[in-house]
């Protein structure tokens, strides 16, 4: 087979695989986040390859009515808007909230579900914490990039609470049980699910706010959006939406009222108050820059303290590996290999969530420990090879002159090793500065996380991304400069 025919065969095979569901019937790619879980989208517990949930059924209903075959595309919840604009899928639905910024930057459908933002607290606190105002000085959790998060940010200013943003809707509630946060604000669908999963929680019935779920499409795809609207309205009329929500125990009378409003020919989407979407670039930057700057300070402090920990621990490990007995060396080598051989993200999760039943570390401390312990492994390797690069002859000379081993290390070996280690160490510090963005998974809002929040809120990555990059560079460039200066001053002949 020639190369051309092989490539041709491959292309045919790939296109067959991509369009496999039904020949001749076009595909409707729908984007959602299966991590969002039931009742929206989740892997069927009895068949993990299959997705179930009310959003899955609605997507299939829309596809069927449009004469197409639904095909799921997995997109991270926070990236759904960006992916819609990029054209990664035709329609997106995954508990996507109706917010003005979304209506402006994308083509949004009519709302198909109404939810209430509700406050969940520990049972013991049900009388103490009834509203956000009662939670002054307390930590209140929610899912990032949601209306609830906007409400919490407003409550931060109004009532002095601390808003804590999570990337999923499971850990806010489990951390509430553990006492890491004192309340969770999320929609009633998620709150209901969490109440079933966790004992000892209480959800206040009063809605802090009302919100709606919508279907999104790329802005230039308004025609498809209009078709979706027709399908949704038909489904509201003929009861098929109601049937879907009833199957998922999510039907209530709020929906009937919503459908009545949406089916009214005079219905227009509520515009609401949009924080920033309509403002000019400069005002947007001015509004968000202080919070980015604060987040950059968090990143810097986190990185510096984690690096300090890594340097101290790494030095101890390196010395243990060079001078220690075989058992010590084996233990330390194992530590280094495990820390280097597994993802730092996994280590962070284990320290924060995995150890929660033993020790409940605050997020910032867990982040510090995770990064410090991980980088200690890398630092120790640098120091070990630097120690071993100091000529053995110098150590012989020191021994004959009467220096003890510790003195030889302190006065002769370590100072030279440090000079050799300086360049790779700087490298690692810059890498740590950027890796520190992983700790946003533990609810620490550092620079990258704040940038994501910024981008989600204004529906664009251009300005937030640029500012974020500038701030990272502002931190890493001086560091590189300083390291080069030190290296020149202490230049070693062996380098």
């Amino acid at each position: 087979m020639t190369r051309a025919t092989a490539a041709g065969a491959l292309i045919i095979l790939l296109s067959v695989m991509l369009t496999a569901p039904v020949f001749g019937q076009p595909v409707l790619r729908w984007g959602g986040d299966s991590e969002g879980g039931a009742p929206f989208v989740e892997a069927d517990p009895s068949d993990p390859d299959k997705l179930v949930g009310f959003d899955v059924e609605i997507a299939e209903l829309i596809a069927k009515q449009l004469g197409r075959t639904a095909q799921f595309v997995q997109i991270q919840f926070a990236s759904l808007d960006q992916s819609a604009r990029r054209g990664d899928f035709d329609i997106g639905l995954s508990g996507i909230e109706d917010i003005p910024a979304r209506r402006q930057s994308l083509a949004a459908s009519v709302p198909y579900y109404e939810f209430r933002e509700v406050l969940t607290v520990r049972d013991a606190d049900r009388d103490r914490y009834r509203t956000l105002a009662d939670l002054a000085g307390r930590r209140v959790a929610t899912l990032g990039g949601t209306i609830a998060y906007e409400h919490l940010l407003a409550a931060e200013r109004a009532h002095g609470i601390t808003a804590v943003s999570y990337d999923d809707d499971v850990h806010p509630y489990s951390d509430l049980v553990l006492g890491r946060v004192d309340a969770v604000l999320l929609d009633n669908v998620l709150a209901d699910r969490a109440m079933r999963r966790n004992a000892g929680l209480y959800t206040h019935a009063d809605a802090v706010a009302i919100g709606h779920y919508i279907v999104i499409t790329a802005p230039e795809n308004a025609a498809l959006r209009d078709q979706v609207n027709r399908v949704l309205r038909d489904a509201m009329r003929d009861g098929s939406l109601e049937a879907i929500f009833r199957r998922w125990n999510s039907w209530n009378e709020d929906q009937r009222a919503l459908y009545d409003r949406v089916l009214d020919p005079n219905w227009v989407p509520a515009t609401g108050t949009d924080a920033l979407g309509t403002q000019g670039t400069l005002r947007t930057v001015r509004a968000y820059f202080p919070s980015l700057l604060r987040a950059a300070v968090i990143t810097l402090i986190l990185s510096c303290v984690a690096m300090a920990l890594a340097v101290v621990l790494g030095t101890a490990i390196a010395i243990g590996r060079v001078y220690g007995d075989p058992v010590t060396r084996l233990l330390l080598t194992t530590y280094v290999e495990v820390m280097r051989g597994t993802p730092v993200l996994l280590q962070l999760f284990v320290i924060y969530y995995g150890l929660a039943s033993v020790i409940r570390l605050p997020a910032f401390v867990a982040a510090l420990l995770g990064l410090g312990l991980n980088y200690a492994a890398y630092e120790s390797e640098i120091y070990r090879s630097a120690l071993e690069a100091v000529p053995k002859g110098q150590l012989d000379a020191a021994r004959i002159l009467g220096f003890s081993r510790l003195q030889a290390l302190r006065l002769i070996r370590a100072p030279q090793a440090f000079r050799l280690a300086l360049a790779p160490m700087t490298n690692d510090f810059v890498a740590l500065l950027k890796d520190s963005s992983l700790v946003s998974m533990l609810t620490v809002v550092e620079l990258t996380k704040q940038t994501t929040i910024f981008a989600t809120n204004i529906g664009s990555w251009v300005i937030p991304g640029l500012l974020c990059a500038l701030l990272y560079l502002a931190m890493s460039l001086p560091l590189g400069y300083l390291a080069r200066r030190l290296e020149q001053r202490w230049r070693m002949p062996t380098t």
Binding site: F403, Q416, W490
Partner: protein, 230 residues
């Protein structure tokens, strides 16, 4: 003449190789003893055993405090010349830094490298580095000074300077033991030569006698090899 070094019946095996096969070596104060022998004859190993860097399988070493100058000097690269010399007195012998520096400067002056006191090892020439290394070894005032191939990297003028310096050190009551390939140097400056072959002493005595009319075939071979090299 009092003895600074007595080594008896030194034996050492590494793997299947006999490195030392019953070596006896003595050095009295005022002596400059030259160890000669082809590469692999065990010269450097003897110095390392005397210095305590290697442990022989059997045999005794009775030696006073030892100073050693390595072939490649092994100066502490992060310290300038004077600090290389002053480091052991300040940290091992608890001499005050100013006093140690004063004495280090005097030693460097004495060896002709006083003007290089503030230079880092990488800025020194081979000859300068060697003299700093000698000063470093002398700073703790050892009665016995070991030198491994001190002439190896020196031009003829520097070789002569070194010889004079070593003669002076021996004259001031130290015992010096050096390894060398340079029979002219040994003839001129050593007070006694010890010829080694395959880990054994094969011949020893006055350098002029031994090197002018060698009795042992290994000594003759050694001299031929050295001649061929020059």
């Amino acid at each position: 003449m009092s003895t600074a070094l007595t080594a008896r019946a030194l034996r050492m095996t590494r793997g299947s190789r006999d490195i030392l096969r019953g070596v006896d070596l003595f050095a009295a104060k005022g002596e400059l003893v030259a160890l000669m022998g082809l590469s692999g004859s065990g010269k450097t190993t003897i110095l390392r055993v005397i210095a305590g860097l290697e442990t022989p399988d059997s045999g005794d070493v009775i030696a006073e405090k030892v100073g050693m100058v390595f072939q490649f000097h092994y100066l502490f690269e992060h310290l300038c010349a004077i600090d290389n010399v002053a480091l052991a007195p300040t940290h091992v012998h608890r001499v005050s830094l100013s006093e140690a520096r004063t004495r280090a400067q005097a030693l460097l002056d004495q060896l002709g490298v006083g003007h290089r006191a503030r230079a880092l090892p990488r800025e020194l020439s081979g000859g300068e580095a060697q003299r700093v290394a000698i000063a470093r070894a002398l700073a703790v005032d050892p009665p016995l000074l070991l030198l491994d191939e001190p002439t190896a990297s020196l031009d003829p003028a520097r070789r002569n300077d070194l010889g004079e310096s070593l003669k002076k050190l021996a004259g001031s009551g130290r015992a010096l033991v050096m390894t060398s390939h340079d029979d002219d140097f040994v003839r001129e400056f050593a007070t006694r030569v010890v010829v080694l072959a395959n880990g054994e002493v094969v011949e020893e005595g006055d350098p002029h006698e031994v090197l002018t009319s060698p009795k042992h075939p290994a000594t003759r071979e050694l001299l031929q090899v050295e001649k061929a090299r020059w």
